[in-house]
C-alpha cells in the first residue's frame, strides 16, 4: 500500500513537479522538479524573487492550473489528472482563497461574499460554522459593514471580507497570493495576524505567497523559490534574517 500524504501529517504534497509554458525557443520553465509537502496546521510562506514560480506553484497545488510533469495531492486525493468538474467541487469544499486584488463579487454585499462558498455547495452554514463566521466578523471589525457592497469598502476591509470568506468553511488549506500586496503596512499586518491566529488557535493550514519579509515572518515555515526550484526550507525566523537572505539571493542571480 502506498503511503498517503496524511500519514506523513501533510495537507498537500507535490512530487517531481514541473511546469513549462510554450515550446521551442520561446519556452519558459516556471517550475522544475519541485517536491514538497505542506504540514497540516502550519502557516507556510512561499517566498522568492518576482518570476521565480511562486504563483504557478500555488495555482497548481490549489487545483487552479495543471502540472506539465509530476504529481499533486490535496489531502489524500491525487488531483494531478482530476477532471474540471471534480476539481471545482474540491476547491469549493476543501480550499480557501485570498488573492492580491479583486477578491469579491461586486454584486454581492460583504455577508453575501462570505457565505458564497456555502451557497455554491447548496447548503447553509451549520450552527458551529455560523458561530465561527460571527466570531470572524466580530474580530475583523466587519459587523457594521456586512450589508455594504465591495465598492463601498476600503481595500483593507475588502481584504478582511475575503479572509473571512476563506476561513469560514474551515477548508483543508487556505491559499493566499500576496494578500497584503495592495494594502498599507498597518492594514496588511491586521490581515496577517488574522491568518496567523487562525493557524495557531484553530490549526488552520495556510500557504501564503509573498515577497514581503515582514509578511513571511508571521509564518511557521518559509520556503524559498528561485528560478522554479526550492532553494531553502526554513523554520520561523525574523523579518531581518529573511530580508538578508532575499538580498543574497538576488545578488547571486
Amino acid at each position: 500500500m502506498e503511503i498517503q500524504p496524511s500519514d506523513l501529517g501533510l495537507v498537500a504534497r507535490v512530487a517531481g513537479l514541473g511546469k513549462h509554458y510554450g515550446t521551442g525557443a520561446g519556452a519558459v520553465t516556471a517550475l522544475e522538479d519541485v517536491s514538497l509537502g505542506l504540514r497540516r496546521g502550519e502557516f507556510t510562506a512561499i517566498m522568492g524573487p518576482s518570476g521565480s514560480g511562486k504563483s504557478t506553484l500555488m495555482h497548481i497545488m490549489a487545483g487552479l492550473d495543471s502540472a506539465t510533469t509530476g504529481r499533486v495531492w490535496l489531502g489524500d486525493t491525487e488531483i494531478t489528472e482530476l477532471p474540471d468538474g471534480a476539481l471545482t467541487v474540491l476547491r469549493r469544499r476543501r480550499v480557501g482563497f485570498v488573492f492580491q486584488a479583486f477578491n469579491l463579487v461586486p454584486t454581492l454585499d460583504a455577508l453575501g461574499n462570505v457565505l458564497l462558498p456555502f451557497e455554491l455547495d447548496g447548503r447553509r452554514p451549520t450552527r458551529e460554522e455560523r458561530a465561527l463566521i460571527d466570531g470572524l466578523v466580530e474580530r475583523l471589525g466587519l459587523a457594521d459593514r456586512l450589508r455594504h457592497r465591495p465598492h463601498e469598502l476600503s481595500g483593507g476591509q475588502q481584504q478582511r471580507v475575503a479572509t473571512a470568506r476563506a476561513l469560514a468553511t474551515r477548508p483543508d488549506l487556505v491559499f493566499a497570493d500576496e494578500p497584503t500586496g495592495n494594502l498599507d503596512s498597518r492594514t496588511g499586518r491586521e490581515v496577517l495576524e488574522i491568518l496567523a491566529d487562525a493557524s495557531r488557535t484553530h490549526g488552520q493550514s495556510i500557504a501564503m505567497v509573498t515577497h514581503d519579509p515582514i509578511a513571511a515572518s508571521h509564518a511557521d515555515r518559509i520556503l524559498f523559490l528561485a528560478d522554479g526550484r526550492i532553494v531553502r526550507d526554513a523554520q520561523r525566523t525574523s523579518a531581518e534574517e529573511i530580508a538578508t537572505y532575499m538580498l543574497s539571493m538576488e545578488r547571486a542571480a
Binding site: D65, F99, Q100, G181
Partner: protein, 466 residues
Amino acid sequence: MIGRLRSGQGPTLLVATIASAFGVALLQVTGYLGSAMRADDVTGSSGTAALMLAIVAWVFIVIAVYVSGIVTANTVATVVAGRTRQIALLRLLGSTARAQRGAIAREGLAIGAIGAVLGLVVGTLVAIGLAEWAAAADVLPRVDHAWADPVVLSPAIVAVLITWLAAWAGSRRVLAVRPSEALGNAAARSQEELAGRRGRTATAATLATVGTLLLLLGVALGLVTPLGVLVGLLGGVLSFTGIVLGAHVVMPPILRLVGRALGTSPSARLAAENAVRHPERSSRMTIGLVIGVTLVTMFAVAMESYRDLLFAATEDRPDLRAGIEQMVSATVAVFGILVGFSALIAAVGLVNTLSLSVLQRTRELGLLRALGFERRQLRAMVLAESTALTAAATVTGLVLGTFYGWAGAQSLLGSVQGEPLVILPSIPWGVVGVLIVAAGVLTLVASLAPSRRATAVSPVAALAIE
C-alpha cells in the same frame, strides 16, 4: 486606440444596415404600389392613397430608426465603459476627452455611412424581388416603375445621421473618465450614472401622466363617439413616449421582480443582480424589445376585439366569418412583420450588449470559478441573466400592449352599437404564443456566445494582476 472601437461594433454596422435596408425597401415598395395605383386609377384617388401609404411607411421607419439609435448608443456606451482604464491612460498621457469622443463619433459616422449604402442596395434589391414575385404570382399587374427615385435615399441618410448621433450620445461617459482612473481600479459606478437624470425623469413622468389621463378621457368619449379614438391616440403616443423616455426608472424594478422569480440558487441570484448592475444599460437593452412587443400586442388585441365584435354582429351570417377572419389575420401579420424589424434591431442590440457585458467580467468569472462555481453553474447564470432581460421586456410589452390595444378598441368601437358598450380586451393567444416563443429563442441565442466565453475563462484569470 480609443478611436478603434471595432470590437463590438460589427453589430452597430448590422443595425445601421437593417434600419437602412428596411426603410429603403419600405419606401421602394410604397413607391411601386403608387405606380401600380396610378396605372389603374379608376377613382382618381391614387394620389391621396399613395400619400397615406407613405405616411404609414414613415411611421414604421421612424420606429425602426429610433430603436436603432437606442441600440447603437447603448453599444457605444458599453464599449466605452469597458475601456475606462485605457481612456484614462490616454487622458493621463495628455489626450483630451473631447478629442477621444470626437474620434468615436467619427467612427459612428463612418459605420453609419457603410451601413446606409449596404442598406440602400439590399433594400432596393428586396423591393425589386418582391415586385417581380407579385407580378409573377398575379398579385399585382406588372407596371413600369423608376426604382432610382431620390426619395428612397432619405431613410439611408437618416440611418447615417442617427448612427452618428447615437455614437456621440453613447460616448458621453468619456467626458466623465478621470485620468486618475488609470491608476486605481475603476470600481462599479453605476449609481453615479443615474445621477443628473432628474430632468428626463420629470419629463417622462409628466408625459406618462398626461398621456394616461388623455387615454382614459378618450376611452370615456369613445362610449358616445368613435372620435374618442383620436383623443385616445394622442394619449397613447404621449404616455408611451413617457414610458420609453423613463425606461431607466420603469425597467429596473421590473428586472428585479423578474430576477427574483428566477429562484434562489447562487447562479440565479447572481444573474438577477447582473441584470441590474448597470441599470441604464439594461434599460436601453430592453426598451427596444418593449417597444416592439407593445406595438405588436396592441395591434393584435385591438384587431382581436374588433373581430369579436364583428362576429357578434354577424351571428346570423356565418358565411361572412371566413372573410373577416382572413382580413384580421392578414392585417395583424403585415403589422407584425413591419414592427418585427424594429424588434429584430433591438434583439441584435441585446445579444451584443449581453456578450460585451460578460466579456468585461472576465476576472469576476475567474473568481467564481476559483471559489467553486462549476462550468454548468456559469452557463446557468448567463442563461438566467439573458432570461431576466428578455422576460422583463416581453412581460412589460404584453401588459402595455394589451392595455393600449383595449383602450384603442374601446375608444373606437364603444359607441358603434348606438348605446355605450364596454368592450372586454380579447387576447390574441396565437400572437402572444408567437411572441413568447420568439422571446425564448432570443434568450437562448443571446446566451450562446457569452456562455461559451464565460466557461472558457480560467480561474487563474482572477488572480492575475493587470
